[in-house]
Point group: C2
Chain length 342, copies 2
DNA sequence: TCCTCCGCTGTAACCGCTTACATTTATTGT
DNA sequence: ACAATAAATGTAAGCGGTTACAGCGGAGGA
């Protein structure tokens, strides 16, 4: 069932059918109805690829994320996909894992799929070694690249992220003001936003008059158990009265540590985690968490992308240049729950 | 940069270029090298849509899920996408929500994208009213439809799911054997697998010699708080000593109920949840949960799909018919943790 | 009445690839 | 050395749409 079949059945040319399915205004009401009736009768769906070929745009966005089963990224994907679809765009998803070669291969694959733009979700797409980002920088010359919670400085790369530094600074400060004397920061992965968070911790400490060498920062693995063990070992070395965790996952590890050590939350120990994903509420007791405003970040990402891909037209129908901020930073919000005294 | 550019630069015909990029064996080593060199030099990526148009298959699978931010589905998507990509297939994702019209629209959209097959992830694609499934049944006439944890009986629809009935039966039986006298089952959503689970509860009760009218089944909403409140109200009416939850999410609600009522877990109250997603371990105390073997379910889904889409060929290169079981059921496994005494 | 203009419709080229088939070139046997 | 055969390559027709441009008929003005 293709456009020829429809045109034959309706007794019009394929051009007219094309006009009808594209909602062009220069079709008579009579033809439109004739064509629509046939289309409804036969249940015809235009071939998106042929359309894309003819038109030059597939109305498709390539989304890359390291691991869609990560709660945080799963949410991002949901927001992005839904938002894009509302705007008439489809998403091709690639779960790239953490290996650079796989990331590159996925990028190529999405290119071959003629995506109109890329969205790199998560801060795992900023490599330590600048050369390793070259594939993204090159790609951005052809199609816009939106980075969600990551940032690479180059033409065509736009970044929307939450204010991780500010968020962590606030968490630290609040904790300090609520009487915390010994704060430990635990994180589990290095990344662009990971560094921002550490900067935030340092900034918070500075604001509270705590010297650099008195800031305690430890790095663990991703699992709850690992974080709990790490904190236990640290506690052994020197007790602390508050924990800031780089994610809700780590926050839960912190809760497990506290519970297994018979420490009362929040009386003996306070915990603040980050992201405010569903995990924060899933925890018992529920975690005080810095809301990373993921939904807003995703929504701003889509907004910018839509502006970029569908620029306003001047009176002659030519695209007007759009100027978008290369970086957008969304303010976070501390959500108070049961693991803190404030 | 298209195949003509490459053919010109390499001094061969586009057919030869096509053969090279498709790894055909009837190309001389000399031309292959010439072409590959040019491709590498110019960084050419073939247009997947033109290929698909010419070839008739896009090597793309349409995945529908109600909500990719649901932890369970997020995992499914990860497994499916990764597995499909390993097999050279891409995935287009549609998060359809729970509304029938949106589901239908997404189905149409994926059709227009010429997907080679559909995967409907989650048990939310089996509607109560059989007529409402017609769009899937019709779709299955054109392309295979794989249902993950759902089941509709029709030509071209294949179902892979976990043995929810058996899993729940085992949970009930184990609980009973560990001394539970008053078991309550709490669930939060109606669906195909929801019904299976209830059947399992009933089967377990029967096996334990408990009459139908003594089985307590309550339905709540999705949030932790709601489940906790519901259980509190039920407890008020009549105390129970064990909770079976239809998901880890509900299980966490049960934990919250127990904690807020000062009930010790598992001494005063035992809890068994379902899925064994990351949430089960995230909970404090960690949830005993029936592992729904999602990874295995997804892997079997992909396996079957690949067999269907790439059937073995006979000596003349014709596809041999493949016969696949329309239903595959994967055995679950009870994972014991801290919320039960067994 | 004839010409112009306009709205609608149709024709055909093109998007970038695959592939059946024709053609050329290389290999082998006698 | 030459036909027969096999291997490599090229040509051209699709795949299913979009769209520039040409053509057509009818309304309105001179």
């Amino acid at each position: 069932m293709n456009i020829y079949d429809i045109s034959k059945a309706a007794g019009v040319s394929i051009a007219s059918v094309s006009r009808v399915i594209n909602g062009a205004d220069n079709v008579s009401e009579k033809t439109r109805k004739k064509v629509m009736d046939i289309i409804d009768e036969y249940g015809y769906t235009p071939n998106a690829y042929a359309r894309g070929l003819g038109r030059g745009s597939m109305k498709t966005i390539g989304i890359m994320c390291s691991d869609s089963s990560d709660i945080y990224l799963a949410n991002a994907i949901y927001y992005l996909e839904t938002d894009l679809r509302k705007n008439g765009y489809n998403s091709i998803l690639c779960c790239t894992g953490y290996d650079l070669e796989t990331k590159k291969a996925s990028f190529e694959l999405l290119k071959s799929r003629q995506v109109d733009a890329f969205i790199l979700a998560g801060s795992k797409y900023v490599e330590k070694n600048p050369e390793d980002n070259q594939y993204i920088i090159d790609g951005a010359k052809e199609h816009p690249v939106m980075m969600v919670n990551g940032c690479i400085e180059a033409m065509g790369i736009y970044s929307v992220r939450s204010d991780d530094m500010g968020g962590m600074k606030e968490a630290f400060t609040q904790l300090h003001e609520s009487g915390a004397k010994k704060i430990i920061y635990v994180y589990s992965s290095d990344s662009f936003s990971g560094e921002q968070k550490i900067e935030g911790i340092k900034a918070g400490a500075k604001k509270c008059g705590i010297s650099e060498e008195n800031i305690r920062i430890v790095k663990g693995k991703k699992s709850y158990g690992d974080i709990a063990e790490l904190l236990a070992a640290e506690y052994e070395k020197e007790a602390f009265d508050s924990i800031i965790a780089s994610s809700d996952t780590s926050g839960i590890g912190a809760v497990k540590f506290a519970v297994s050590h018979g420490l009362r939350i929040p009386e003996d120990i306070q915990i603040v985690s980050y992201n405010n994903s569903k995990l924060a509420e899933a925890s018992t007791p529920e975690l005080t968490s810095v809301d990373a405003k993921l939904e807003e970040v995703c929504q701003k990402t889509c907004d910018s992308l839509m502006k970029l891909l569908n620029p306003p037209l001047d009176e002659n129908g030519n695209a007007l240049p759009v100027s978008l901020p290369a970086r957008t930073v969304v303010k976070t919000k501390l959500v108070k729950r049961a693991t803190t005294r404030f």
